[in-house]
């Protein structure tokens, strides 16, 4: 029986729970654990990261043990176990992108934002990190921003500057 954990400090909205229910329907009876990865993406899209309470609540919904959720959340690189900036810039740092200047772009982002990889700017707006190959090698250097994973291709220092400016004004 799929249900919602009571007395949890985390609230899942009715819309989110409807989405959960639709996702679970994709799998055969009794195989609802298959919904775990998509559900965690949905939760992260709402909260920005996966808190232990949120993970426990997902476990309860899927009728699996919390450890089964932690196992998955710690294995895959897309799940954040701590808060990130509102805009988390993820720059591809693998070989093909480095052949066309990804390292320079990462250095530039570090200088511009004034925070090291993994850190969040004091205003909470930005963080950045290098990630492994994003399968966009012909358009490098590239970066992506979740939760919709918008792609920015053929980056230059100038295009990174204007992207950061745009995001600042949007926030």
């Amino acid at each position: 029986m799929l249900s919602v954990k009571e007395n949890s400090p985390v609230e899942f909205s009715p819309e989110l729970l409807t989405k959960f229910g639709e996702i679970v329907k994709r799998y055969p009876e009794g195989k609802q654990k298959s919904a775990l990865l998509p559900l965690l993406h949905e939760v992260q899209a709402v909260f920005g990261w996966l808190s232990p309470d949120a993970m426990d609540k997902v476990a309860y919904f899927l009728n699996i043990k919390p450890i089964e959720v932690y196992e998955v959340a710690t294995f895959y690189t897309m799940y954040f176990l701590e808060k990130k900036g509102k805009y988390n810039l993820e720059v591809c740092r693998t070989g093909p992108c480095c052949l066309v200047g990804a390292e320079k772009i990462m250095h530039h982002i570090e200088q511009t934002l004034g925070v090291r990889e993994g850190e969040v700017t004091p205003d909470g707006l930005f963080s950045w990190r290098g990630v492994e190959c994003l399968a966009a090698c012909g358009y490098g250097p590239v970066l992506q921003i979740g939760p919709e994973y918008t792609f920015y291709e053929n980056l230059t220092e100038q295009s990174v500057d204007s992207l950061i400016e745009t995001l600042k004004n949007k926030a």
Binding site: K33, H41, T77, L99, C133
Partner: protein, 451 residues
């Protein structure tokens, strides 16, 4: 112009949507297969076509399909591997972005052939925009009666779902992908049993790459024999090549298998040569896992014959002087690139992506990364090169899945063909921090070996 089968209509405005796709002849293969052929007929055509898996291993698709167990009353699954994450490869992203219906059409035909009632497309989680595109395409196909219950009144029913991954290279390995689809960590399974016998939820399952599935559409439309007429020998049909690195025109190209490598790099129809007027130094021809070759050996085989874009020609000479077609991730390095730095970069990738199950891979990739870091940063010693060779040798073949081999091969090939570049780094620790080794190998016909 070479013949194209998959990307023929790529530039037609609106081809992403169902209507235009249908107007260009889309979904004919579904009508033909479901109304005039038996599932076994479809498998037979794919066998005749000689199509080889486009994900990297190059295993004949029809043969893979024929291994599928069919016990009574047990569900069978088709799972599409859209976890594209082999560095250098971005063809599946391109196909799914621009012609999503080509994949959906192929999924329907392939699912019918295998007797699957539910199929999944496992897309890497970072491709969220492509996931939305595919979900829309599925809804459109369903709306037009090509998916769902009783497709085209034939009695065949099928549902296709898109599953996002979580960001892990290892999930491109088919059993890790299945684990992930079951909501677990992507740890590859010990084989046997193979997925054809016990795959998703323990049921018989076929896992195929995006491009392989899309290729079944022209195979069914024109017949397997027609498809097999394209290409050379056992490399039949067309192949999507992702061209990246320092070429003038990076992008995805559909080639007839058999195009000479030299033509692919220098012709304006394809890469248009090396960017910024530089010279070609080396090529990784099939994604980061395959052996890197210096320019002279990628353009011509060791026996002096022109090297062709086929499974056989790229592999000519074995690992001593050849490489592999792999996933078709074609990465060109210009004269300014440093082989040591790139090898260090790739090794860091494999260390990061190792799932950690097997000690040789978990520990070995970390050791290789550290040794390569030392050499690249002017801290290496002569014995480090031999140590590096020793470590990669001890990973290769000693792991559950091919990630271990994939991590070992690039290191072995870099030492095999560019050993003097490694030595130069060690002998010139400070100079190597300010300039690159350059092109010494470019004109050197001799092949260095250390084993």
């Amino acid at each position: 112009m070479g013949r194209t089968l998959l990307l023929t209509h790529i530039n037609v405005p609106g081809i992403q949507g169902f209507e235009v796709y249908r107007q260009t002849g889309g979904y004919r293969s579904v009508e033909k297969a479901l109304k005039t052929m038996s599932p076994d007929d479809v498998v037979e055509e794919v066998k005749k076509s000689g199509l080889r898996g486009r994900g990297g291993a190059g295993f004949p698709t029809g043969m893979k399909w024929s291994f599928l167990a069919k016990p009574e009353g047990v569900a069978r699954y088709l799972v599409c591997n859209a976890d594209e994450s082999e560095p250098g490869t971005f063809k599946d992203r391109y196909l799914m972005t621009h012609i999503p219906h080509a994949l959906i059409e192929g999924m329907i035909v392939s699912s019918f052939a295998l007797g699957a009632k539910t199929s999944y497309i496992y897309v890497r989680g970072e491709m969220m925009p492509q996931i939305r595109i595919l979900e829309k395409a599925i809804a459109e196909a369903k709306n037009a009666g090509f998916l769902g219950d009783n497709i085209l009144g034939t009695g065949y029913s099928l549902e296709i779902y898109v599953q996002p991954g979580g960001g892990a290279y290892i999930c491109g390995e088919e059993t890790a992908l299945l684990e992930s689809l079951e909501g677990k960590r992507g740890n590859p399974r010990i084989k046997p049993p193979f997925p054809a016998v016990a795959g998703l939820y323990g049921c018989p399952t076929v896992v195929n790459n995006v491009e392989s599935i899309a290729a079944t559409v022209p195979i069914i439309n024109d017949g397997g024999e027609e498809y097999a007429k394209i290409g050379i020998e056992r490399s039949t049909g067309t192949k999507l090549i992702s061209a990246g690195g320092n070429v003038k025109r990076p992008g995805v190209y559909e080639i007839e298998l058999g195009v000479p490598v030299e033509e692919f790099i220098y012709s304006d129809e394809y890469c248009g040569g090396i960017a910024n007027g530089k010279k070609l130094k080396a090529v990784v021809a099939g994604g980061s896992s395959v052996p890197i070759l210096p320019a002279n050996l990628i353009l011509k085989t060791a026996s002096g014959a022109p090297r062709l874009m086929t499974y056989e020609s790229l592999a000519d000479g074995g690992f001593q002087t050849g490489t592999m077609m792999g996933s078709g991730g074609f990465i060109a390095f210009d004269e300014d690139q440093c082989v040591v730095r790139n090898t260090w970069n790739f090794t860091r990738f494999y260390r990061h992506e190792s799932c950690g199950q097997c000690s040789p891979c978990r520990e070995g990739t970390g050791w290789m990364e550290k040794i390569l870091y030392k050499i690249e940063h002017g801290l290496g010693t002569q014995s480090d090169i031999d140590l590096l060779w020793d470590v990669q040798k001890n990973i290769e073949g000693n792991t559950i899945c091919p990630l271990g081999d994939a991590a070992a091969w690039p290191v072995a090939a870099a030492i095999r063909h560019f050993r003097d570049e490694f030595e130069w780094h060690i002998q010139n620790p400070s100079e190597s921090q300010t300039r690159n080794f350059g092109l010494a190998h470019y004109a050197d016909p001799l092949v260095q070996t250390v084993d």
